[in-house]
């Protein structure tokens, strides 16, 4: 499974918080340019996995590599946390500008970046003067401000309405395809997983292990989103993954070997 050029490489990674094992041994190799979607029950360890890849947690056992090296926060990976985590002492625009400043980029693209997530006329507002979904979008704009080769997104669209969500999904898919970025994307929406992912990994309940690892071989080029969703393979994948998620969530810790879901 492993490859030297992998953007993200997890080898037998396990992570425990004290005596709570959050992520069971997981081995995953994400080639550069892949759009990996992680799906799994609430509390199964998705965020922990993302934090491991971002370098915020050290694996209890096993090794994590990004771009062949031990991950360090802020080096080569953009991260959207599950919570917006905006700085209240900065305006909305100031939050985005900060990301640009850290990357040494000019800060005049703030409005453009905010417009990219559907936000207009809020750059001067305080972070508590915008709605929950708007905060989430500011966090996305902040993480996307800089072109990192790796993007880690933890349920970024959870607080968005269907329309906005679809637009941003489409944007994200287009951008990542065009620039060849690697994405690791956590979601609870099976539809989103199929629509976005070039590969979908379903995790078991805590401690999260790989229950299903599926390449999504949908023909994407030139298809409008609605056309894509209309494909029969699309529906098939949806139901397959949906099924796997339900299965995996109920799999008990014991019943599952290190290799994945039993046949």
């Amino acid at each position: 499974m492993s490859s030297d050029s992998a953007a993200v490489e997890l080898a037998n990674v396990e992570h425990s918080y004290g005596d709570v094992t959050a992520v069971g041994p997981v081995s995953l190799s994400v080639p550069a340019g892949e759009f990996l979607v992680l799906v799994g029950a609430s509390g199964c360890g998705k965020s922990t996995l993302l934090r491991l890849i971002a370098g915020f947690e050290q694996p209890t056992t096993g090794t994590v590599l990004t771009g062949g090296r031990a991950p360090r926060p802020g080096r080569g990976a953009g991260l959207v946390f599950q919570q917006p985590r905006l700085f209240p002492w900065k305006t909305v625009g100031g939050n985005v500008a900060l990301a640009l400043r850290y990357a040494g980029l000019p800060t005049d693209r703030v409005d453009e970046l905010l417009a990219g997530v559907g936000l207009h006329d809020v750059a001067h507002r305080r972070t508590w003067q915008i709605s929950g979904g708007q905060q989430q979008r500011v966090a996305i704009a902040r993480a996307l401000a800089v072109d990192n080769p790796l993007l880690l997104l933890d349920e970024p669209f959870a607080a968005l309405d269907a329309l906005t969500r679809e637009r941003l999904q489409e944007d994200l898919r287009r951008v990542s395809a065009r620039t060849g970025r690697t994405c690791v994307f956590v979601t609870h929406s099976v539809d989103e997983a199929v629509f976005l992912g070039s590969r979908v990994v379903v995790l078991t309940a805590r401690p999260g292990r790989v229950a299903l690892d599926l390449k999504v071989g949908l023909p994407r080029d030139g298809l409008a989103p609605d056309e894509l969703r209309g494909l029969p393979e699309y529906a098939a994948l949806r139901s397959q993954i949906g099924h796997a998620v339900r299965e995996a969530a109920t799999v008990s810790e014991k019943a599952i070997g290190p290799e994945g879901v039993p046949a």
Partner: protein, 283 residues
């Protein structure tokens, strides 16, 4: 709402109703303060009359008279001990100001460094705790020996008095920087000092301001100690002189000068605080 979550003028732009409510609140505030002042004044006047001993409790009239005497040139004598009250106050305020600024700046640096750099905290924290327990009156004579009798020892004393509140408050606030936001900054690629500047310090700002307000207060209340030696002109020297001759009315006048100017400075600090920290209660 009025009780627990007070009106925050800068954060929530007013609706029509709220605007009048705030104007009313302002008027009510002034009224309350005026009433409180009058009550205090009446209490004072009554106590003074009942005690009938101007050495213990000089009446408002006597203090007012001294205000005039010490603010003018009478019988060829300028004010008190050759300086007008305002000059005494000015000299002391200058000392307090310089001492506070030095103390606050040093405390800030020390607090940030102690809050962020592990080994400095380990070494410096006990030293700071040790020093802030020491009574200025005890080590002031050492200052005299080291720095002479002019401005230097006074400024040292005031600076050292003003340092601990800022250092301790800053270090505590910096030490408990919000993990979530620090992580967010790191994820954006912030370096160590960028994190300090953009997350740790802004987050600590409310506590730092509390520290500064306390520091200025401590500097104020140390001014008499600082001016025990060669303290004239100076409001502390004036008070001590007056004390020695049981001129209680002058002492009380000096206390008023200190207290009122302290009030003024604190009001300035609070205004700055409200301006600089619109996110109070929002993090």
């Amino acid at each position: 709402m009025s009780i627990i979550a007070p009106v925050r003028p800068t954060t929530e732009p007013a609706t029509g109703g709220a605007r009048t409510a705030r104007a009313k609140g302002g008027r009510r505030r002034v009224l309350l303060r005026v009433v409180a002042l009058l009550v205090l004044y009446a209490l004072w006047e009554i106590t003074a009359r009942v005690t009938r001993n101007p050495v213990f409790i000089p009446g408002p009239g006597a203090v007012w008279h001294q205000l005039i005497v010490t603010s003018t040139t009478h019988d060829g004598v300028r004010g008190y001990s050759g300086h007008l009250l305002i000059e005494h106050l000015g000299v002391s305020l200058r000392r307090i100001l310089i001492g506070s600024v030095i103390g606050v700046a040093a405390g800030l640096v020390l607090g940030v460094v102690m809050g962020t750099v592990g080994w400095i905290r380990v070494v410096a924290e006990p030293v700071v705790t040790f020093v802030r327990a020491l009574p200025p009156l005890a080590y002031f004579s050492l200052f005299i020996i080291w720095f002479g009798i002019d401005e230097t020892p006074k400024l040292w004393l005031l600076s050292i008095a003003a340092l601990p509140p800022v250092a301790v408050a800053t270090a505590a606030a910096v030490y408990s920087a919000p993990t979530g936001l620090v992580e967010a900054a790191r994820a954006l690629g912030a370096g160590r000092w960028q994190i300090v500047r953009d997350v740790v310090l802004p987050n600590a700002l409310p506590e730092i301001f509390t520290g500064i307000r306390l520091a200025v207060g401590v500097a104020y209340s140390s001014v008499v100690a600082a001016e025990t030696i060669n303290g004239v002109p100076g409001i502390g020297g004036l008070i001590r002189d007056a004390q020695r001759y049981s001129q209680t009315d002058v002492v009380v006048l000096g206390l008023f000068a200190i207290g009122l100017s302290g009030l003024l400075i604190d009001a300035l600090l609070r205004t700055a605080e409200t301006r600089l920290i619109p996110w109070r209660g929002r993090s």
